[in-house]
Symmetry: C2
DNA sequence: GTTCCGCATGAATCGATAG
DNA sequence: ACTATCGATTCATGCGGAA
């Protein structure tokens, strides 16, 4: 048994590779599956009308490999089809409940910098769903791990902050929500809400990720302890795995594309990699 | 024909009173219906399992009285029942589509100051859905009416902020999001996103509103012109009607409780009231 | 060392044009 | 008529070069 947490990426696809994993093994599953008909160039686009059908065999396996006290966080957003929001996400929630999942909560990721554009009939979409599913009503949760510091006077102060005002200290504090943590060290802390107000990662970083590392970091802190096991069945460039590694959690990722598989390997600490 | 816009509240309940209204009459329907409540004895509480069944006859009439170019904004959030988010909102969206509604968009109200509380298995809920439904793909929308100041200046400006610089002036500007207007007149503006980041109203007013007046104000500006007709089928203390009156729109409200009916009457400009 | 500014880019969507 | 492809639109962010 090593003292370092282990990180491993499996080259392959879901649900096939999931079947090789043990029952009741993971404490947290955090993933952002390919959205319907999006990123066609990287993943084979899944047609919106076929999305639920495609995902259910995967969620079936996820239910099996999750511990009874574990949590599944699904980052997803429905696309616009023919002028309407498509209903596949709503249908997926209903179908997963029939599969045995509990739909415990819906967190919201409020993106600070969303995709630009201008249309006559809608505004830019600046939020995504973070659906929380559980196997049992009683699950592990460590709310203290994600508390944010706020004093009485700072409540007033915070209400006057603009979006950009929060940015600078985010990368330093790594506590989520970008609340200029450094300035309030030693102050009393409060619990956050179910809205995460984070920026998407910019494309000109040396690695590209669809979500910022702060996102998995926050949920890993909230739902796991050190040495717990984290799974990302669509690990992509490995953002979830890197967050897990930084926090001393064991993790497994699954990724079908060799290109992303290799990028993720390079972004992770080699000493902890199990090949 | 009066030059002032008219405002009228009907004492009665839905869908009965809706049946007395004309076809294809309203440009905007904005409402926050009573939330589902499992405590049967509560007045007006609708059991979550019966919510869709209760609402469909109402949405049927709303579809009838809305103009083909009009918009229906439904402010709603599902309750937690037995540890899970109940699915009645998801089911309602699916059922309303079968009724003929288009589910065009889902706006998000990100509450700045949400209800306090502490639970072992969840955080405070600080967002609500604002579901947009339409009859036709082509609907009236006036995006310029809700533009907000560009964030570009703020990078420079915010680096040397004084305390007074931070003070917001929502009421004077009436610009929807209430984003520090006075200082940036003459600056270029940008379109907002589909997330509204507003504070809930303070409780120390003599009436309690479930949403701040800025919320209906924003949608009335976005989807109607002066003298257009606005309907709130659950008008409560009359927040939507007052917003409509302030903006020079005609409006009709429906409210079953005499107490709220009278509160709303008192909050509105009497000269424009049609009794 | 800082700060400032230019610039490329991103889980998108619509409408027109083409097959 | 129905589907596929393509250009136009837009803005917060972070990197890199310059002052």
């Amino acid at each position: 048994m090593t003292t370092e947490p282990s990180t491993r990426i499996i080259l392959g696809s879901c649900p096939d590779k999931l079947r090789e994993l043990d029952d009741n093994f993971f404490d947290l599953i955090f993933t952002s599956p390919p959205y319907a008909d999006q990123r066609k160039h990287t993943y084979g686009g899944i047609h919106p009308d076929k999305y639920v059908e495609w995902f259910l065999p995967i969620s079936y396996e996820l239910l099996r490999v999750l511990k009874p006290t574990g949590t599944f966080i699904l980052n997803i957003k429905e696309r616009v089809v023919d002028g309407e929001r498509h209903t596949y996400v709503l249908e997926l929630i209903l179908a997963m409940r029939k599969q045995g999942w509990l739909w415990t909560e819906e967190f919201m990721w409020h993106k600070k910098n969303c995709y630009p554009g201008k249309w006559n009939n809608r505004f830019r979409d600046s939020w995504e769903r973070l659906l929380q599913f559980n196997k049992e009503k009683k699950f592990k949760m460590f709310q203290e791990a994600v508390m944010i510091p706020v004093g009485d006077w700072s409540k007033t102060r915070l209400s006057h902050l603009s979006k950009t005002d929060n940015i600078r200290d985010e990368s330093r504090a790594k506590s989520g929500f970008g609340k200029r943590v450094a300035n309030w060290i030693g102050r009393s802390k409060v619990y956050p809400t179910n809205v995460l107000h984070l920026a998407t990662e910019c494309g000109n970083k040396n690695h590209s990720a669809v979500f910022p590392e702060l996102l998995p970091t926050w949920f890993i802190k909230l739902f796991t302890e050190e040495r717990d096991w984290v799974l990302d069945p669509f690990s992509g460039s490995g953002t979830t795995l890197r967050a897990a590694q930084t926090l001393g959690r064991n993790s497994i990722g699954i990724e079908p594309q060799t290109e992303f598989f290799e990028i993720a390997q390079n972004n992770l600490n080699k000493k902890q990699m199990l090949i």
